[in-house]
């Protein structure tokens, strides 16, 4: 039941928000709803640990003739991802309070709608439900980017839309195709879909459809070109949702759907498909080094980091997959932190160009410290959130094929190069005309960043709970694969 409430509450709030005229009310209501949602998430977590390791399953036969049911539940994987979503959405909403937002009720309504969609994606145990919610998230994402975005927003958002939508259509075809190959009576239930009976050629097609849909969403090289532009154009809240949460849908989809259903393809191709994200790690890192725009910079670092996660997810062993789950959570937290900081910098200096900024640390020591901590999390320093996941992924990849681990390991050095160089140019040295009147963060601005920093250290120092959740979920997937 909790699962259903988690989906329905934001859905209803989102609809309600559309009709609220008072913008102040709207944004406060949105925040309140997001916080309540977080509370319910924690209650679900509590139930999960203390009463049953069952999956908090909700099931309603909706279109029984077609084997479509409203089946939602939470295993370890869903739990991790809903916790991430319900942690980040309030942070995103709160951090936008310092900005001026036009048509606030629609804006916050869309964010909350997005939350509903995300929770649906992460908790769906029915293929059709997964697809519906997958598409549902695209709507708010599209409108947020298209209406509140910056320069060239229509063209860029359309590109984003065309990319992801074509990916999802392929996925829909794949799901329906699978449906017809499930044991009788056909069903979209995930157990049925896992059990579908495909010949090797069919498996390849289904795999490709899934892979493309997810590769676009994550994004994986070479399907990433929509992403930097979109991150730059979208408003900050939008970029945070896209980078922090939507990209995780692709990775989550890989682990929940693609791998258990089409793992024989991964086995037969001898890890060929891992090469794409691996190329992405090196490729995007190299590009990130040269970027001047901070948002574009973050976009490319994200391709590199998520490349590592995707490689881990496809290495088909428990460590790498567990690491991938942890790293998804960490990356979501860190990228939102980075975007919040860039948002603060832009709102003060009216620029996101690295070349124009300099010496901010002198004027804003609080910002400098918080930025540094988030940066250390991004470069996977031990005792921050990036470390455990990255190590597990490398360990798993090493088991899979040592050369992959060696290439993926380059991220250890690349991330330091681009991150520190960026930090050096933006934050250190003496101030210039752009930054000399930079003011330090107010407490109100610091709250979301402090929440993020707490998570960075929590996952870094005591990852036990997160590891447990990831392990629990991954064990089932690996069980299917074996």
């Amino acid at each position: 039941m909790l699962t259903l409430i988690l989906i329905l509450l934001p859905l209803l709030v989102a609809i309600g928000l559309f009709f609220i005229k008072n913008e102040r009310w709207a944004r406060n209501l949105a925040l309140a709803a997001a916080l309540i949602e977080s509370g319910i998430s924690i209650a679900a977590l509590y139930t999960y640990f203390n009463f049953c390791h069952c999956q908090l399953l909700f099931r309603f036969e909706w279109l029984a003739n077609y084997g479509i049911s409203l089946k939602f539940g939470m295993d370890g994987l869903s739990m991790l991802m809903t916790l991430l979503t319900n942690f980040l959405v309030p942070v995103v909403i709160y951090s936008s309070f310092t900005q001026k937002v036009e048509r606030a009720s629609s804006f916050y309504s869309l964010i909350i709608l997005m939350q509903a969609g995300l929770i649906g994606v992460f908790t769906a145990f029915d293929g059709m439900m997964f697809y519906i919610f997958w598409e549902l998230t695209l709507i708010p994402a599209y409108f947020i980017a298209a209406y509140w975005g910056g320069e060239n927003r229509i063209r860029i958002t359309l590109k984003f839309f065309a990319y992801t939508f074509s990916g999802s259509l392929l996925m829909l075809v794949a799901i329906i195709y699978l449906y017809f190959h499930t044991p009788l009576p056909h069903s979209f239930d995930h157990i049925w879909l896992y059990a579908s009976n495909l010949n090797p050629a069919e498996q390849v097609w289904v795999f490709l459809a899934f892979f493309l849909a997810f590769a676009i969403k994550i994004p994986i090289f070479p399907f990433h070109t929509w992403q930097p532009d979109t991150y730059v154009t979208a408003p900050y809240s939008g970029s945070m949702l896209l980078g922090g949460l939507m990209s995780k849908m692709g990775l989550f989809g890989m682990i929940r759907w693609m791998i258990p259903i089409t793992y024989p393809v991964l086995n037969r191709t001898d890890g060929f498909f891992i090469i794409f994200p691996l190329i992405g790690i090196v490729y995007a890192s190299l590009i990130a080094i040269r970027q001047d725009d901070l948002k574009r910079f973050v976009a490319y670092t994200s391709i590199a980091h998520l490349g590592l996660v995707a490689a881990g997810a496809m290495a088909l062993n428990a460590q790498a997959m567990q690491g991938a789950m942890i790293q998804m959570v960490s990356h979501g937290i860190n990228i939102v932190g980075l975007f919040i900081i860039i948002q603060y910098i832009e709102s003060r200096t009216k620029t996101t160009s690295i070349a124009e900024l300099q010496g901010i640390a002198l004027k804003a020591p609080r910002l400098a410290v918080l930025f540094m901590i988030i940066l250390l999390g991004s470069i996977a320093l031990p005792l921050t959130n990036g470390f455990v996941g990255e190590f597990l992924i490398l360990l798993g990849l090493f088991k899979y094929y040592w050369l992959y681990a060696a290439v993926a390991g380059l991220t250890v050095i690349f991330s330091v190069v681009y991150m520190l160089w960026m930090y050096q140019r933006v934050m250190l040295g003496n101030t210039n005309t752009v930054t000399e009147s930079f003011t330090d963060l107010s407490w109100k601005e610091m709250i979301p960043l402090i929440a993020i920093v707490i998570m960075i250290f929590w996952i870094g120092i005591a990852p036990g709970m997160f590891m447990h959740l990831a392990e629990n979920g991954v064990r089932q997937i690996i069980g299917v694969v074996r």
Partner: protein, 639 residues
Amino acid sequence: MIDFSYTIWILLIPLIVFVVTGLTGNRFKPIVTGIIGTAGLGIVFLLSVITAYKFFFVLDKVDGAFQRLLAFNYTWLNLTDKLHINIGVLLDPISVMMLIVISTVSFMVHIYSLGYMKGEKGFARFFSILSLFSFSMLGLVIATNIFQMYIFWELVGVSSFLLIGFYYEKDSAVAASKKAFIVTRFADLGFLIGILVLSYTTGTFDFITLTGPNSPAFTSGQGIMFLGMSTMTWSMLFIFMGGAGKSAMFPLHIWLPDAMEGPTPVSALIHAATMVVAGVYLVARMFPIFHHEQSALEIVAWVGGFTSLFAAVIACTQYDIKRVLAYSTMSQIGLMMLALGVSGYGGEDGLGYMASMFHLFTHAFFKALLFLGAGAIIHAVHSNYMHEMGGLRKHLPITHATFLIACLAISGIPPFAGFFSKDEILVAAFHHNKALFAMEYLVAGMTAFYMFRLYFNVFWGKEQHYHHTPHEAPLTMTLPLIILAIGSTFAGFIPFTKLVTSDSLPFENNTEWGIAIPSILIALVGIGIATMLYMKKSDTSKKVSIALGGFYTAAFNKFYIDQVYLFITKKILFNYVSRPVAWFDRHIVDGTMNQIAFVTNVASDKIKGFQSGQLQQYALAFVSGVIGLALLFTYLWTN
């Protein structure tokens, strides 16, 4: 059985101090932070001394050997059913010795910094990070497993990074801190791969298992060969790469001289006495496996030997006193690596191992002393360059006396500490490899030369025109100098052969005068040449450098290694790789995708017409559209 579980507080106290001072920040007067930090380290120092006393003199030995104790153990993560990551405290002779080294030097540096950093804007920040460093370094040496060591290894790197870049408004300091972090991180990538290989082949991270008599490392990972070396050899080489990065071994040394941009107490603590010897400690920690993989150990020996010579040559040409000391540090650490590389295992065969640890111990005292002395000098004359100094012995009597002791100690003049430890290294090298042995005689001479070149240039010669009359540093600064000078004088008499040996069993060893006397003579020759050239300011040294011609210029420019790195990173990586890749991404990858999605463009024109409508309507239409589409599909396909 003695309870050692309190030793976890050695780790926790600096951590608590860091967290408290870091969070309260500028809430208090800066000096309060300084005193809290210093007091915390004082307690750590006392605990370390107590632990050392109990460990070496009270605790029962097993079959005559010192025990290895897990004083504290906590399972941090379960990776697989067999593979765990623990955080704990391992006590054995080398870790206890390192506790003494770190807590002593760190405590001295804390006291010294109270005076040296007085009035600095970031005073509180400085002490806060100093505590973080102490925590990380202590955690590194008491690590029970290689994974814990790696965790703290990285934390040490970050604290070093933060302290080198302490003056973050200064571009050179920022560049130096970044360079240090990136170069050591590059080396750590090797370390990480080494750990992966090691844990994969042996199934454990645990030091006690890995370096015990029945180590799985001796049996597994032997069969598979790659480029003529076994998996285990490769693993050791990768791990050594990490050690070489931290310990500034050639060719990963380039960060250390630049790291001198940090405040001088930091150079003394991190870049002379403690962090930079972490690599040596790592090899010592893994020594049984290195010893089993002789080809890896051979490489350790040669890298160490070459670095010691290479750095000594450069040290002879530098003018910045901190850089001279930095190259000297590299050279001495090279000696320690070499000693490990030529060591055997067990009893007197393990002389090199003992000598390495012994030298690490004595070096920590006299090198910290040299740096702190240099700090006092810089404090007095506001310059780093020795040609802007001279005749300071009258103005800085305490600094002068203690500095002289340190110079004698590092030059290997008896009875100062360096003599004993360096002598053991020479003996060990002599029995193993005559070429390296000859090289080290040369290094010994050069060490004496460049140290006394520095000494005479600073304290003797003609007095320069200073901004104000140089005066002796306050007591907070001179007291640590005096204490460290006492250490540098007497540390050599500690019977290391009875305490810290490769197999924890004591053995008998006497000074081999046949090797020691020539080494003293060589050192005296080095000092003699320095006296001739530099005691009175004269042109002779200039003439010598001109006579050496190209070789001198090359050494003065540090053999252009920095330029090579710059060329590779800035020119090749940034300009010839990164930029074209960015172009490629924009024009080729994106361009291709755009062509494929040509339809997009057509569609975009149509959608542009819609944008002014009511958002709600479109959203609603969109949702129903998607759901409708999905239902339509299902309907069509099922019937």
